[in-house]
C-alpha cells in the first residue's frame, strides 16, 4: 500500500495542491496555514526520502511531447537536500514569519518553490525540467519581492538574470530537440553526438550559462546579493541552500552527460569553467569582506562557495567531483544555518546592518553557537564538515595540474576568514549595548532547525561516510569512477596524503575538553562577569557615551591594500549595459513622434523603400 502511494506524481500533487490549499486555508482560517504548510512539507520530505530510486518512472505526454519523471541516485542526492532544507525552512518560518502580512502568499510560493525544485531533480526530460525551472524562478521571484518596500529593482534584476539564463537554456533545449526529436534526457544524451560540432559547443555553453546563472556564476552573479538580501531570511536559507544548487545539478548533468561527449573541446570547457569558478570564488570573497549588511555578506559568501563547487565539478577528477557534491550538500546546511541565524538576529532586533548590531552573544547563545559552527564550516577548519570538502578540493586541484587555480582558491578561502569573523563579530561579539537589553533567544521552532543542521555539519566533519556513500552513488550515475573513501578517513591519489578525521576529532575533542575543564574549574567560578564597558583602555576609564565599538570600515587596511583590484565592479558593467539598452529604447521611442502625418509618411516611405528594394533586387519577380 505504501509502495503504491509513494510515487513522483503523488509527491507533486501533495506539494502543489498543498500549496494552493495553504493559500486557501489562510483565507478561511488564519494562523492554521503555517501548520498546514508544515504538514505538507513534512509529507513531501518523507515521500522524497522513501521514494524508490530506480523503479519510480512515470511517463506521459503533454503538448505532443514525451515527458518522463523518475528518480535516480543523482536526483536523490539533490532531492534529499531539498526535502530536508525545505522542511526545516518551513519549520523555521512558522515563528519567523508569524505576524507578517500575506502569509498565504508566502507559504504558497515557498511550497511551490520546494515542489518545483523536487520537480527539477525528478525530471528525466528537459521540458519538464524547464517548466519546473521557470516555476521555481517565478515563485522565488515572488518571495524576493514579497517583503520589499519602495525599491523593487532587486526583484527585476533577479528576474532578468534568471530570464536570460532560462532563455539560453530554452535555446539550447530547442536545439537539442530539433536534433533528437524528443525532450527526454536519455534520447538527447544518446543523440548528442549527431549534433554538428558548432551546435554542440553552442548548446553546452548555453546550458552551462543557463544553469550557471542560478548558481550565481560570475559574471552573472549580480542578482544574487540583492535578491538574497531582499527575500525573507527564512526563504534566503532555502534560496542559497537549495535553490542555487539546482544550477549545480544542471551543470553536473551537462558536463558529465553532454560536454564529455565532445571530446575535442571538453578540456577547454573544463578549463574555462574551472577558472570561471575560481574567479567567482575569489572576487566574491573580496566583495563579501567589504559588505556591511549581514545578508549581503552571506550572499557573496554563497556565491564564493558556489564558485568552489563549480571548480570542483569542472576539474572533473573523481575526488574533485566528490568534493563538489559534498560541498553542495554541506553548503546547503551551513549557509542555511548562517542565514537562519542572521534571520534570528533580525527577528529579535530588526537589524541586519553590521555597523549597528553588536554584542548579542549572551542574549542569543544558541543562535551564536549555530553561527559559530556555521562559520567554522565555511572556513573549512577541522573538525567540522567544511574541512572535508575543502581538503578534497585542494588535493584534487593540486593533483590535476590546476596549479594557479589552487592558489586562487586558497587565497579565497583564507580571505573568507575575514568576512566570517566580521559576520560573527558584528552580530554577536563586541560591546553589548543598552538597546539590545531586552533581546531574547529566538523561539524553539527556529532553534531546532539551526541546531540540527549544526549537528549535521559536525557529523560530516567526523564521519563523512554517510554522505559520501550517497555521493559516490550519484557519481556512479554520472558515470564517474568513485575515489577511495572510508567512513572517516580521507584519501587522495598520492601516497600518505590522507587525513584520519576520527583522530583529528578525538584529539581536538580531548584537548578542548581538558582545556575547558581546566579553565572552568580553576578560573571560571572565581571570576565575576563584568560588562563589556568595563575594559582596559590603556588605563583610562571609558565614559558612558564613548564609542567602544569597532565596526565601521572594519577591513579598511585590507581594502586599501587591495587598491583597485576590486574597483571595476561587474555590477556597474551590467548597470551600464542596462542603461544603454534603456536609452536605446528611449531613442527608438522617438520613432513614434505622435504626429499622425509622420506616420502617414512612414507608410509611404516604407512602400517606396519596398518598391525600390523589389525593383532593384528582384525586378519585381519573386
Amino acid at each position: 500500500m505504501v509502495e503504491i502511494m509513494i510515487s513522483i506524481p503523488v509527491i507533486f500533487v501533495t506539494i502543489f495542491v498543498g500549496a494552493i490549499l495553504t493559500y486557501l486555508i489562510k483565507l478561511i482560517m488564519p494562523k492554521v496555514e503555517a501548520y498546514f504548510a508544515l504538514l505538507v512539507s513534512a509529507a513531501t520530505s518523507y515521500m522524497a526520502f522513501a521514494l524508490p530510486k530506480t523503479e519510480s518512472i512515470y511517463k506521459f505526454n503533454l503538448g505532443s511531447f514525451n515527458l518522463m519523471w523518475g528518480n535516480n541516485e543523482y536526483s536523490h542526492l539533490f532531492a534529499m537536500l531539498v526535502a530536508v532544507l525545505g522542511f526545516f525552512v518551513v519549520l523555521y518560518s512558522m515563528d519567523f514569519m508569524a505576524g507578517k502580512v500575506n502569509l498565504g502568499f508566502y507559504y504558497f510560493n515557498l511550497l511551490v518553490s520546494i515542489g518545483s525544485m523536487l520537480g527539477i531533480v525528478y525530471s528525466q526530460d528537459f521540458l519538464s525540467l524547464f517548466i519546473f525551472w521557470e516555476i521555481m524562478t517565478w515563485s522565488s521571484f515572488m518571495l524576493v519581492i514579497y517583503a520589499q518596500d519602495e525599491k523593487f529593482s532587486v526583484g527585476i534584476k533577479y528576474f532578468v538574470f534568471s530570464a536570460i539564463g532560462a532563455y539560453l537554456l530554452l535555446t539550447a533545449l530547442v536545439i537539442l530537440y530539433t536534433n533528437s526529436g524528443s525532450f527526454l534526457l536519455e534520447d538527447n544524451i544518446n543523440n548528442f553526438i549527431y549534433l554538428s560540432s558548432q551546435n554542440q559547443i553552442l548548446v553546452i555553453i548555453f546550458l552551462i550559462i543557463g544553469f550557471g546563472v542560478k548558481a550565481a556564476m560570475m559574471p552573472f552573479h549580480v542578482w544574487a546579493p540583492d535578491a538574497y538580501k531582499a527575500a525573507p531570511s527564512s526563504f534566503t536559507a532555502l534560496f542559497s541552500g537549495a535553490l542555487s544548487k539546482m544550477g549545480i545539478f544542471g551543470i553536473g548533468l551537462v558536463l558529465f552527460k553532454f560536454a564529455i561527449q565532445n571530446t575535442d573541446y571538453f578540456t577547454y570547457f573544463q578549463f574555462a569553467l574551472a577558472w570561471l569558478g575560481g574567479i567567482t570564488a575569489l572576487l566574491s570573497t573580496f566583495y563579501a569582506v567589504f559588505q556591511t549588511d549581514a545578508k549581503k555578506l552571506l550572499a557573496y559568501s554563497s556565491i564564493g562557495q558556489l564558485g568552489y563547487i563549480i571548480v570542483g565539478l569542472a576539474v572533473g577528477t573523481p575526488l574533485s567531483i566528490m568534493s563538489a557534491l559534498l560541498l553542495t550538500i554541506l553548503h546547503g546546511a551551513f549557509k542555511a544555518m548562517l542565514f537562519m541565524s542572521a534571520g534570528a538576529v533580525y527577528y529579535r532586533t530588526g537589524l541586519l546592518d553590521m555597523n549597528e548590531t553588536r554584542g548579542l552573544i549572551r542574549k542569543m547563545p544558541l543562535t551564536f553557537l549555530t553561527a559559530l559552527m556555521g562559520i567554522i564550516t565555511v572556513a573549512g577548519v577541522p573538525p567540522l564538515g567544511g574541512f572535508v570538502s575543502k581538503w578534497m578540493l585542494y588535493e584534487a586541484l593540486i593533483q590535476s595540474n590546476y596549479y594557479f587555480l589552487v592558489i586562487i582558491i586558497f587565497v579565497a578561502s583564507t580571505a573568507a576568514f575575514l568576512y566570517l569573523y566580521r559576520f560573527i563579530f558584528s552580530l554577536f561579539l563586541g560591546q553589548e549595548e543598552k538597546e539590545f537589553e531586552n533581546v531574547k533567544e529566538v523561539p524553539i521552532k527556529m532553534i531546532i532547525p539551526m541546531l540540527l543542521l549544526a549537528g549535521f555539519t559536525l557529523a560530516v566533519g567526523v564521519v563523512p561516510g554517510f554522505v559520501l556513500e550517497q555521493i559516490s552513488k550519484a557519481m556512479g550515475y554520472l558515470g564517474i569512477q568513485t575515489p577511495n573513501w572510508e567512513n572517516s578517513v580521507l584519501f587522495s591519489n598520492w601516497e600518505n596524503s590522507s587525513v584520519n578525521l576520527m583522530s583529528v576529532a578525538t584529539s581536538i575533542g580531548i584537548l578542548f575538553v581538558l582545556g575547558a575543564i581546566f579553565l572552568t574549574i580553576k578560573n571560571y567560578r572565581s571570576t565575576r562577569y563584568v560588562t563589556t564597558k568595563d575594559i582596559h583602555t590603556s588605563g583610562e576609564v571609558p565614559t558612558e557615551n564613548e564609542n567602544l565599538t569597532f565596526a565601521v570600515n572594519f577591513y579598511q587596511p585590507f581594502e586599501r591594500s587591495l587598491g583597485s583590484v576590486i574597483k571595476p565592479s561587474i555590477d556597474r558593467i551590467f548597470n551600464l549595459i542596462g542603461k544603454n539598452i534603456e536609452s536605446a529604447a528611449d531613442y527608438l521611442r522617438y520613432i513614434y513622434t505622435g504626429n499622425g502625418q509622420t506616420y502617414a509618411m512612414y507608410v509611404i516611405l516604407f512602400f517606396v523603400v519596398l518598391i525600390l528594394f523589389a525593383d532593384l533586387m528582384f525586378g519585381f519577380k519573386f
Binding site: 551564536f368 586558497f410 560591546q431 578542548f512 583602555t537 587596511p557
Partner: protein
Amino acid sequence: MDSFWMKILGFVITPLVAFAVGVTYGGIVRKITARIQNRVGPPIYQNLLDITKLYSKKTAVNHGVMQHLGPVFAITASVTSLFFVPVLRDSSFWFNLSFDGDLIFLLYMMVFGSLGMALGAGQTGNPNSAIGVSRGLALMVGYEIPFVLSLVALMIQFQTTSIHGLLAVQDTFSSWIIFQSPFATIAGILAFLGMMHYAPFDVPFAPAEVASGPASEFGGKYLALMMTSGSIFTFVKLVLFVNIYFGGAEDLLTLILKTFILYMIPVLTGIVNPRYRTEQAIQFFWKWPTVFGIIAILIVVL
C-alpha cells in the same frame, strides 16, 4: 600494549618539550633584542617565570563564555597541530598523529586557534582587540599567498601533500628542499616572517598602537594559557618549516639548532625594522614573495 603506552607518553612529552623549547626561545629572543638595543634585558627564563606567575594568579573578571573559551581554542589548536607534525625524522616516538593528517590539514588546523582567539578577543568588547583581529586577519591573507605558492610548488614537484612525503624526498635525494627548489623556499621563508608576527609585521599586536591587540583584555590564567599555546605554536611552526625546507632533524639537538637558526631570521629582521602599516605589510607579501612563489611553480611546471 607497550607501544600504546609509548604513544600516550609521546602525546604527553611532545607538548612539554615543545613548551620548554618555545618558552626558552622566547626568553632568548628577549635577551638578544635587549642586547642589540643596548639594554641588559631580562633573564632567559623570564618568560617561564611570567607564565608560572600568571598561572598562579587569580583572574578577576571575564566578559563571557567566548572569552573563556578563546584560550582553550588556542591551546587545542596548537597542541593538535603539534601532534600532527613529525617532530623528529625516523623516530616514531615523536610522530604522534602525524600520519593521520597532511600539510593541507595542518594549514587549516593552525587557523583554528587564531579563530578561537579572535572570537574570545571579540567578546571582550575592547576596540583594540577588534582592530588587532582585523589587522591580523588581513595580514594573514597577505602572507598566505606566497606561503601557499611555495607549498603548492613543492607538492607538485614531489607529488605529495604530506610532511612525511617531503621528508622522504629530502632523504632520498639527500639534499634539503632549500637546495632543490630555492625559490619556493625563499617565498616560504618570507611568508614565515609574516607568520611569526615579528616586526615589521607585528601589526596585530603592536603594543603601542592597539595595546597588544587581541590579548589586551586577557589576564591571569587566560593569558597564561595563551602564552603557553603561543610558545607551543612557535615550536610547531619552526618544526614545520624545518621539516619542509631544511630536511627535518634526526635528533633533538639538530632540531634545536635548526629551529633556532630559523627562528633568528624573523627575530633579527624584526629588531632592525620598524613596523609596517597593515596595508604596506600586505602589499609587501603580494610583491616579491609572490613573484618568487610563482617562479617556483613555473619552474616546476615547465
